[in-house]
């Protein structure tokens, strides 16, 4: 009897938490498809005003431009970051010795450095180098992160040394071993790293706000934030902007969710 009561409580608790977790996103979706007046009345069913909202949004903001920028910055950053950090994680684990372990622990200190502390000198450096409003300017500070290096280092621990030895005997050079053996076996770690990096890049707000001084270079989060400036809020249009800004990360999330969980599990071991 007690067992059964506990089970029921468990289901109720999880259901309530799940509803609270999903509700704001559902509300956003409804608001994006309704007129602002209906949103204010508390309408909770998807409506038919999506196209009107879209027309208003496109008339007031350069959505296509911001979308293109966001994709351009995020994809470039993810690709480069994955290459560099996985190579480093591989190097730290497979060829580890005292010196490399020391280097790693120094790198980990960088995790503690708050972005606010590096933001101003980075801004000065980048504006001197003419990197404001550029993709390189966006990606440079976050290509190499201690977190990703650590994720790949932890996962490389499960990569069997026998395979490496066998590959060496077969005449593969060190880079080929990394490229042909390590990358294919570590697929779930790469998926986790990709999810994290892409989302962080897409969602980054402070850094682009600092260096994207030109309206043509702004990202989706910046565009959405711009929508709230003004006295009267058109909720339908605003939430459509939020929805457009959220769709890419939600898609990535659903596609890579399983491998993301696997990758994290591998790293936490």
């Amino acid at each position: 009897m007690i067992e059964k009561g506990k089970r029921i409580f468990q289901y109720i608790f999880l259901t309530v938490v799940s509803i609270i977790s999903v509700f704001p996103l559902y509300w956003m979706f409804c608001a994006a498809t309704n007129k602002s007046v209906d949103v204010i009345r508390g309408k909770l069913i998807p409506g038919t005003a999506l196209l009107d909202n879209l027309k208003n949004l496109l008339a007031s903001q350069d959505v296509a431009g911001a979308m293109t920028n966001s994709f351009k910055y995020s994809i470039t950053l993810t690709l480069i970051s994955l290459c560099i950090c996985s190579l480093a994680g591989y190097g730290f684990e497979i060829f580890h010795d005292k010196a490399k372990d020391t280097v790693m622990s120094i790198l980990l200190l960088a995790m503690m450095v708050p972005f606010a502390a590096t933001m101003i000198p980075l801004f000065q450096m980048f504006s001197k180098a003419g990197l404001l409003n550029s993709t390189i300017g966006f990606i440079l500070p976050t290509i190499s992160t201690p977190f990703l290096i650590m994720l790949f280092r932890q996962s490389a621990r499960s990569f069997p040394h026998d395979i490496i030895e066998a590959a060496r005997i077969d005449g593969l050079n060190e880079f080929q071993i990394f490229y042909r053996m390590f990358i294919p076996t570590m697929r779930s770690t790469y998926a986790a790293a990709m999810t994290i990096t892409f989302m962080n890049a897409w969602n980054n707000y402070l850094w682009p706000k600092v260096i994207m001084t030109d309206d043509k270079s702004i990202t989706m989060p910046m565009l959405v934030a711009n929508l709230t400036e003004g006295y009267v809020t058109d909720y339908g249009m605003l939430m459509l902007g939020v929805l457009l800004c959220t769709i890419p990360t939600i898609i990535i999330f659903f596609v890579l969710q399983r491998s993301f969980a696997e990758g994290i599990t591998g790293a936490v071991k």
Binding site: Q10, V17, S18, S21, V22, P24, L25, V39, I84, L87, A88, Y90, G91, F92, F95, D97, K100, V103, L107, M111, M112, V113, P114, A117, I120, P121, L122, Q124, M125, L140, P141, T142, I143, S144, I149, M199, N203, Y205, L206, K209, V210, P221, V224, A225, L227, T228, T233, Y235, M239, V242, C245, T246, T249, F253, A261, I264, T265, A267, V268, K269
Partner: protein
Amino acid sequence: MSYSNHNIELHTNMNYSHKKFKLKTRQNLFGWVCLIPAVILIAAMSFYPMFKALILSFRTGIGAKMTWAGFNNYIRMFQDNVFIQALKNNFIYLIIQVPIMLVLALILACMLNDRNLRFKGLFRTAIFLPCATSLVSYAIIFRSLFAIDGFINVMLMKLGILKTGYNFLAYPNSARAVIIIALIWRWTGYNMVFYLAGLQNIEYTIYEAAKIDGASPFQSFWKITVPLLKPIILLTAIMSTNGTLQLFDESVNLTNGGPANATITMSHYIYNMSFKYVPNFGYAAAMSYLILVLVAILAFLQMKVGDKRD
């Protein structure tokens, strides 16, 4: 005869070890080549700017006309009411939000780790979903939900709890509460995934054995789950502390620091000081160094506490 034979053997042996030595060095060299790009980037994009910010924090002035200021920036910081308010706010968020979120995440993870639970994937996906929304997006969603004409007010009025809309974002305490609620909503699932990953490495048989020995679920939670998850709990605690001390997007987009700077965070104030008002990079750098020191101290303390419980 035997002498020359020996000589040949020695020679091939030497040749072999020489070759092996070369191979080892080559591998070691490859190991270093792997690291170089990542190490250079972190050095140039984190450590070097950090050092520059330290120098900057002792200077004052605008643009190229900067002069040395000694400790003036640091003294000014503690006489600046807005900054003190920002510092307090960061700590309010930290002390209230982080424990609630971590405990909730741990409870949820334990519930979802139950083998006999149905719809596990559905619950997990739903609870993790908030992490897929960008910080700016969810800040704006919560701002709209809690606005005076927002959904929460409409519901409260329909239910008869409120007569007129309550402007949550116009009063310091309720505005801070909204930020805290929003933060918990956004990050609980994220931490839960870390705990779930950790729980998967704990053998299920340990729990069964404990159950046979007569341990209550509460006991097995405190005596098995918490100690075995300690490294991950420590990791999430440090990450959350670090994140909370650097809050920016929520302060900007949910409340815009208002009402009258009552909810502003340190990073938000630093941003305003550098890029919104007349830029004062020296003073902003000094404030950012306080965050750096706080992050370091708190991480150190948490690691100490984490170690002690062994």
